[in-house]
Subunit: 326 residues, 2 copies
């Protein structure tokens, strides 16, 4: 069922049908309009967006590349993105990069072939500018900032301040031996969080002890292993974690070791993913406005697409949410 067939049934030209369907009907009589619309309805006509896209050079589709939707942080990001996109008339193609530059590059290629109007990229750990051959594709970098040339937007939080606040909070709560468990990946945010931790210690005249730092990746297992390793040689009374998954792993290990939280050791996370309020004890953490970050990314991307803005950097605020783990 095409526009041409509808046109024949209504005894008008396909141009007329197209105009009516797109609301460009100021020079179409109401009678004709009604007649066409009725036929469209009766025949269950569904317009062919592919043909439309070919002509108009716009697909109303966005590509989103994240490491892994199964990770609660990214699934919330994805949800924020999809909701905002849907609200603005866009669909989203979902891509999981598994933090692999190779998959990321492949997806960028595919998304360009599919003529998405723009791409939201949560960069993989090793991605560098030159691996991203983009042909002037509107793009916003979300959560993870990387070096990249050209007109790209950025939505980030102040990771250093967040980690600083977390550690400072632990100090205020009376901790004297604070460990840090996080990821050793090379994305900027990871480094910033480590810096924030160190700065908080230094400012309070505590020494930075590399033996109290365990870096691996952003997973529950890292938190679990980190606690086991760190407590072999140290007496910690506070642990600042690079993200909530790590904190959850840390809590699990501490629970198993019958170490009381928060009485003996206080634990603080980063992100405030959905599940964090449900662990035992509920996790005190540095909240990122994850869902909103997704929304903001879409808004910025669409404004770049529609040429209303040039890529800028938007820094969203983190907040400390107090629960029972401290």
């Amino acid at each position: 069922m095409t526009i041409k067939e509808i046109a024949e049934m209504a005894n008008v030209s396909s141009a007329t049908v197209s105009k009516i369907l797109n609301g460009k009907d100021q020079y179409i009589s109401e009678a004709t309009r009604q007649r066409v619309l009725e036929i469209v309805e009766r025949e269950g006509y569904i317009s062919n967006a592919i043909a439309k896209s070919l002509k108009t050079k716009s697909t109303s589709t966005l590509g989103i590349i994240i490491p892994d939707v199964m990770n609660l942080f990214f699934s919330e990001l994805a949800r924020g993105i999809e909701d905002a996109a849907e609200g603005m008339g866009y669909s989203v193609i979902l891509c999981n990069s598994d933090n692999k530059t190779s998959k990321e590059e492949k997806y960028i290629q595919v998304l360009q072939e599919k003529m998405v109007d723009g791409i939201i990229l949560t960069a993989s750990e090793q991605s560098v500018s030159n691996s991203l051959k983009r042909r002037n594709m509107p793009m916003v970098l979300l959560d993870r900032d990387i070096l990249i040339e050209g007109n790209v937007g950025r939505i980030v939080v102040d990771n250093k301040k967040g980690a600083y606040d977390a550690t400072k909070y632990l100090i205020e709560k009376g901790c004297n031996n604070i460990g840090f468990i996080s990821s050793d990946n090379v994305v900027k945010s990871s480094g910033e969080r480590l810096k924030g931790y160190k700065q908080a210690l230094t400012e309070s005249n505590m020494e930075v002890d590399e033996n109290k730092i365990y870096l691996h990746n952003y997973s529950i297992d890292t938190g679990y292993e980190g606690v086991k390793k760190l407590l072999e040689n140290n007496k910690l009374d506070g642990i600042s974690c690079g993200n909530d998954l790590i904190a959850i792993g840390a809590i699990k290990a501490l629970n198993e070791m019958k170490i009381k939280i928060p009485e003996e050791v206080k634990v603080i996370g980063f992100d405030d993913i959905q599940i964090s309020q449900y662990v035992e004890p509920p996790l005190t953490t540095i909240k990122q406005p994850i869902y909103e970050m997704g929304e903001e990314a879409v808004k910025m991307l669409i404004s770049i697409i529609e040429n209303k803005s040039v890529g800028e950097t938007k820094v969203l605020k983190t907040t400390l949410v107090e629960r029972r783990s401290c």
Copy 2:
């Protein structure tokens, strides 16, 4: 940069370039092939999949409609789907229905306009056949079975047996007073799980007591509330939960009430979502092969698309995984 421009540079026709790019080059000399390929590479030509789709009537894109990616069950499903799709050369458009028939219908319309090759639908709670106007679109129903006419595939598990096994296990572990907390939604699987619970009781000559059943929805809060409500009037020593989220909420409530798990009350879940192994105590549950269900859905859908099979129903097996909550 189009195929025509490449053709001009190489002094061949666009047909030749197209043939080379699509591997239909049995009658193209190696010299020409190389020359064209080099130009394609040098100019960074990216093919226009939209134009291709218009001609070939296939987009290599699948639509997936799930209630909510932020729900761990569905995010794992989504991941399985995306991985399998990517492996078979397809992209996926992600849609969150929030269990609303209205959103679901809207997405189905959009997906058809975008000419996806097929749709994987995890149906919303109220969706019924006639609300789904589809124009002969290949489709597979995933996880939730609904009545629908036409040629659709189905990937499900035996929910009744799963819930039966769970409850039976509790009985074997010595429980005499087993409650059931689940969702009251109208999808078939919810009813099946309730039936499985009841059947296990009946078979063991235990009476089904409606006061020990709390039905609301598949959320952590339901588990939490359910325990509070059920323990007001009952002395339970076992709780069979409609899914893991509910079980996690139940465990949280029990922990707060200082009731020992599994000594005083045993808890069993359903699904085996990722997080379940990390709660305290780790959750014993009926494992659904979630990721594989996503994969299987893609395989079945693509085989329907390629006309290699007609819609059939595939029932995957659940297994009981023992952890410390029982």
